[in-house]
């Protein structure tokens, strides 16, 4: 695609729309805006515009559409696949200042928010009113706009689903500047094609989310977790399906290993209780009465210790205890990053029954390539986060091993019925693997959709299928 390069006239027009203080030209821009959290993809925009309302976005898009200027949307920049990196330059449209709570509707149990509201702000806002927004992606400083754009998942997905399940309606500015509303406050909707759901997870390539109506439920009053050590990974992972089918669905089932805990201990500078075992499950239950939770925990503890070979079951029931274990789990990504010089990650999702085999394969690959590959995962929903660590490898060798390793990792995942991404998206970094996974027919269908929404390909060019 050929795009118009931004010149001084364009800058003046954009300044007119957002105000001079809210347009930052490339030369004055901090380097952070040229990459995302993982920093594997780098590209500079010609300018950053910080928008304050949907009207400004609409005006910007009308202009960009007319002038054929590429536009990439950015929230907090916490993505991991280069989704918010402006590959073709142009305008980087920052929605993080659009962070108003528009309406909490207690009757319909919905929350209308602007896209720049942070996930952690949503929790705080709704929980004090007794409501619950369940999606729980690890990165709490991500914006809701970014979460919707990637269909972010998180640890509670197995019980409560992913972001897509919690979005009732979207207001979107299309590439030509037109404002369109999809869905609404309704619980059911069987009216035509599910365009709202198509926009969720489209990674900023079809439209710009300018407002979202989220679904809420009453806040579960109680929750408790169990830290369950097993003699080895195979026993831990094989226990998961039995736990899930045994009783009520857990809220979250996480898999941890000694090595990841050690990284977290080093990174956080504090010890984690009972960190001496090789493999763990971290299982959470929530509910509305303490007795309900106590019952769930008792049943699963008995199952794990008496039948599934767990070494013990440790109870995590108070704020202090939750903090002592969950802070370690929450710090895994940062801890792994801090343990090496560079990382790249694989966010595959597999049928739960295939996880053990896949992790075996990963360990063998780590040995054969001589690359350190720590991992952790939401084993309850089959989503693994696997990190290749550069350590002291030279650049060329690292790139070689990474390409070779990733190729094999994805190939194996597809063989086992897995998908490229469970929750981080395709962005720029995983495009080739998506092509390989879905094949030409599906890519063609996706291209047809892209053509319909964005015929001139000005929105987030170079991403997902392009």
């Amino acid at each position: 695609m050929k795009y118009k390069a931004i010149d001084q006239d364009d800058i003046l027009v954009l300044q007119e729309i957002v105000g001079a203080d809210f347009l930052i030209p490339k030369q004055e821009l901090e380097e952070d805006y040229a990459h995302d959290e993982l920093q594997t993809v780098h590209a500079w925009p010609d300018c950053l515009v910080q928008v304050k309302n949907k009207d400004q976005i609409s005006q910007i898009m009308k202009y960009a559409y007319r002038m054929n200027i590429p536009v990439t949307v950015r929230g907090s920049g916490t993505g991991l696949v280069g989704g918010c990196v402006p590959i073709e330059g142009g305008i980087l449209l920052d929605t993080s200042k659009m962070n108003r709570f528009v309406e909490l509707d207690p009757i319909n149990m919905t929350l209308r928010v602007e896209p720049g509201v942070l996930l952690m702000e949503i929790y705080e806002y709704v929980e004090k009113e007794g409501f619950f927004y369940a999606p729980d992606p690890g990165e709490k400083s991500a914006t809701i706009g970014g979460n919707i754009a990637t269909n972010a998942g998180g640890m509670r997905a197995m019980k409560y689903g992913v972001t897509r399940d919690w979005v009732r309606g979207l207001e979107v500015v299309l590439p030509n500047g037109e404002l369109v509303s999809f869905g609404g406050k309704v619980v059911k909707n069987s009216s035509g094609y599910a365009l709202k759901d198509l926009l969720i997870g489209s990674e900023g390539t079809l439209g710009i989310i300018v407002e979202a109506t989220l679904k809420l439920i009453p806040l579960p009053k109680y929750s408790a977790s169990m830290l369950i050590p097993f003699p080895n990974r195979i026993q831990a992972v094989s226990a998961v399906p039995k736990i899930i089918t045994h009783h009520v669905l857990p809220t979250a089932v996480e898999f941890l290993e000694k090595e990841s805990l050690r990284f977290s201990e080093e990174y956080l500078g504090k010890k984690i209780p009972h960190a001496q075992y090789d493999a763990y499950l971290l299982i959470t239950y929530d509910g509305n009465t303490q007795s309900e939770i106590d019952y769930d925990i008792q049943r699963i503890s008995e199952l794990c210790v008496n039948t599934l070979g767990a070494i013990d079951v440790y109870l995590i029931d108070t704020d202090e205890r939750k903090q002592s274990v969950w802070s370690a789990r929450g710090a895994f990504l940062e801890a792994i990053k801090a343990s090496t010089t560079q990382i790249d990650e694989c966010d595959v999702v597999l049928p739960r029954s295939m996880i053990s085999e896949y992790l075996d394969f990963t360990q063998q690959l780590s040995q054969s390539l001589q690359v350190r590959i720590p991992y952790f995962g939401h084993v309850g929903d089959g989503n693994l986060h696997i990190y290749f660590c550069k350590d002291d490898l030279e650049d060329q060798k690292w790139n070689e091993l990474l390409t070779k390793g990733f190729e094999q990792m994805y190939q194996k995942a597809f063989e086992l019925g897995g998908k490229v991404s469970g929750e981080h998206g395709i962005g720029y970094a995983k495009k080739s693997y998506l092509k390989e996974q879905v094949g030409p027919t599906q890519i063609q269908l996706m291209k047809g959709i892209k053509d319909t929404f964005d015929p001139t390909y000005i929105l987030n060019p170079g991403k997902v299928i392009q």
Partner: protein, 263 residues
Amino acid sequence: MNIITCIKQVPGSSKVDVDPKTGVLIRDGSNVKMNPYDLYALETAYLIKEKYADTIVKTITMGPASAKKVLEESLYMGSDEAYLLSDRAFAGADVLATSYSISQMIRKLHPYDLIICGKQTTDGDTAQVGPEIAEFLGIPHVAYVTKIEEVQEDGILVRTSMEDHEEQLKISFPCLITVDKGTLVPRLPSFHRKQRFTGYSIQTFSLKDLEDKDPSHYGLEGSPTQVEEIFPPNKKRDSISIKGDKKTITNSLFEILKEKKYI
């Protein structure tokens, strides 16, 4: 070696509301937990037990029958025995009457070498109960212990953290320490231990079991502190805006923090 650990059940959340009319704490009976500082007291005891095989850890608390829950928790964490001190006669006890009651109970659990308390509770926050128990028992005590350096034949070597310095002290048995967080990581309650304690009955002591049976020494009657009024804290927030260049802003901020004694 015989260790007695003193623990308390406290509200599960620090966000306890006060009824603005009556001044009474609005307690959610089901939302309770072990005082977080007591977790460190227990961990200190368990680490000693792991090192010295013949150590027995007894855990005690004073409170209503429902406080047995934290005692059970201590058994699941590593205590060998647990005892509850509970009697209507103890209701309304202030720090002094509480300490006296507990010291009376500890006399019943004789012999002991070491008593370990958390440095304070998160509801009362006085940090006085531990030292007062020791005074009633007439034994030496050290507060704010951050580390047990060494357990010796006739006493322990401890490190204690005061505001502006640390001290290393040798204290002779029998003695009492209150412990601060230090570098300890409290262990979690274990399901195996829970199974092991199935059927274990926590013994309850009441006034009639104590040496001093005079009810006027306990509860509200035995408390020299009378609460005049409880009122919710003022949650109003003030903000000041400081304008000027970097230097002016920094200096003004420094002056304000200094004036308010934050630095």
